[in-house]
């Protein structure tokens, strides 16, 4: 599937007639310059700012997987320079993923509420607030499905709940072949390392953004068929579990 040429996407956006984009460049510039969010920033007169572009313009756009691999590889290399051990490295990758999760959450909500391109102005989004997941299961389904599809083009491979009575707060999301690890071969002496800690950070960001205090970690669970199979262990905090009980009793879904 080839992505539509970017310039055509942009054209359709500038012709989209959203409230912000004025009829001509001059006006847009004036409006943009008076935007309250950015009093001090200069903007080009040709409407090339984030306020003039549609948030969905890159929704179905694709880029080369190689480019991602190089960027992610550099992120790993850079992180490695500043850490002392594997755990530290994973922690750092996790921290890099976290803000991404927060941002993706907004994007997911935005898109799940306004799927048709007609209801797109920012005012309409704020008038119909998106459904924030209230229960653990709803949240996990959001991650397993829509989040994974947005990031990796497919759903995750499994979603499980811990069977141990000691750890009812533990859930597992499995990816048989994480995209971030496609080209990564970890040296033997670091075999515990899983660079998908970055994705764990993304998950953590999404959960936190929804008000679910969580710790997420990535673990190698290879099988014969899936050598880079990874399990993301999601551990919800006590406050979440307590709230879960209250919501359960109240019948909130």
């Amino acid at each position: 599937m080839a992505a539509p040429p970017r310039h055509s996407t942009m054209l359709s956006i500038s012709n989209g007639g959203t409230q912000q984009s004025g009829p001509n460049d001059k006006q847009t510039q004036q409006q943009a310059q008076t935007l309250p969010q950015s009093p001090g920033l200069r903007v080009p007169s040709n409407r090339k700012t984030i306020y003039d572009r549609h948030l969905n313009r890159s929704r179905n756009a694709e880029l080369s997987r190689a480019s991602f691999a190089y960027l992610f590889g550099e992120m790993v290399t850079y992180a490695q320079r500043r850490v002392t051990g594997i755990q530290d490295l994973e922690k750092r990758l996790n921290e890099q993923g976290y803000p991404l999760g927060l941002r993706l959450l907004d994007l997911l909500f935005y898109r799940s509420t306004s799927t048709s391109s007609s209801a797109l102005s920012s005012s309409s989004t704020s008038s119909s607030p998106p459904n924030r997941p209230l229960r653990i299961i709803t949240l996990l389904h959001l991650i397993h499905g829509p989040l994974w599809r947005l990031l990796f083009g497919r759903s995750a491979d499994a979603l499980e709940h811990s069977v141990s009575p000691d750890t009812p707060n533990e859930y597992m999301i499995t990816d048989n072949d994480p995209l971030v690890n496609t080209y990564i071969s970890v040296p033997r002496e670091m075999s515990m390392l899983n660079c998908a800690a970055f994705v764990a950070g993304i998950i953590e960001g999404v959960c936190d953004g929804c008000g679910f205090e969580t710790k997420v970690s990535a673990h190698n669970q290879p099988t014969e068929m899936w050598p880079s199979r990874t399990v993301f262990l999601v551990r919800f905090g006590d406050s979440v579990m307590e709230r879960e009980k209250v919501l359960e009793r109240a019948g909130v879904k």
Binding site: S45, N46, I50, E62, L63, S64, A66, P99, L100, F152
Partner: protein
């Protein structure tokens, strides 16, 4: 060579998924054989493999944004230093990326720097960022040109920090300069690249200036014995 041909190569590689077609027919080799050798672009009818594995563009954009944000944090918003680090990262990427470019495009050595510029814009940027910057503003000695970016996926969703400095000091996409420097060095070209304008800074265009410093001579094998 015709600019159209280069852009067609870039387009072909980007678009079609055509994994198993053997492009080069079998020929006996000779000491001068070019059967393996990348030919001149003029002789190149088709790239060897026309396939780019793809991912969601937003994943790339947001990942890059995270990298820049992390650098700004680690270097306390010393944007000069951030630019330097981005360039360094790009250099590391370029040294690796060139192999992917050569392996997947199958294009060969360029006959001159003008051809190189076309190759960068229409094949390189097309494959790796799905954009085709315009090559323009050639210096009279043909050793310097500008790339003008209509569109820059790395900067989607981006607004620079409103701290009164970022717009004057930070080159958000500076990693691209390093990528060019690293990848061309691997094919024996020493270049210098820097941004001269960026729409993120409020400029009307995003422009990168690329200059050829020198061609790196083939090193001779070390003296034996």
């Amino acid at each position: 060579m015709s600019a159209n041909k280069t852009s067609r190569i870039g387009e072909e590689i980007w678009k079609s998924v055509n994994p198993q077609t053997p492009i080069i027919t079998e020929k006996p080799f000779s000491i001068y054989s070019t059967a393996f050798r990348p030919r001149t672009q003029a002789n190149q009818l088709f790239p060897r493999r026309t396939r780019v594995d793809k991912v969601n563009a937003e994943l790339v954009t947001l990942t890059y944004g995270t990298i820049v944000a992390q650098l700004c944090q680690d270097y306390d918003s010393d944007y000069q230093e951030v630019n330097k680090q981005l360039d360094k990262m790009g250099y590391n990427i370029g040294m690796r990326l060139i192999e992917d470019f050569l392996a997947k495009s199958g294009v060969g050595r360029c006959a001159n720097f003008r051809e190189t510029a076309d190759m960068i814009a229409k094949v390189g940027f097309k494959i790796f960022l799905n954009v085709t910057p315009t090559v323009t503003n050639w210096a009279s000695d043909n050793n310097q040109f500008s790339l003008i970016f209509e569109d820059n996926p790395l900067a989607d969703f981006v607004e620079l920090p409103d701290d009164g400095r970022a717009q004057d000091e930070l080159w958000f996409s500076n990693i691209l300069c390093g990528v060019l420097r690293g990848s061309l060095e691997m094919v024996q070209m020493q270049i210098e690249a820097h941004f001269v304008s960026d729409v993120l800074r409020g400029d009307e265009t995003t422009e990168m200036r690329v200059s050829l410093v020198r061609y790196i001579e083939d090193e001779m094998p070390p003296e034996e014995e």
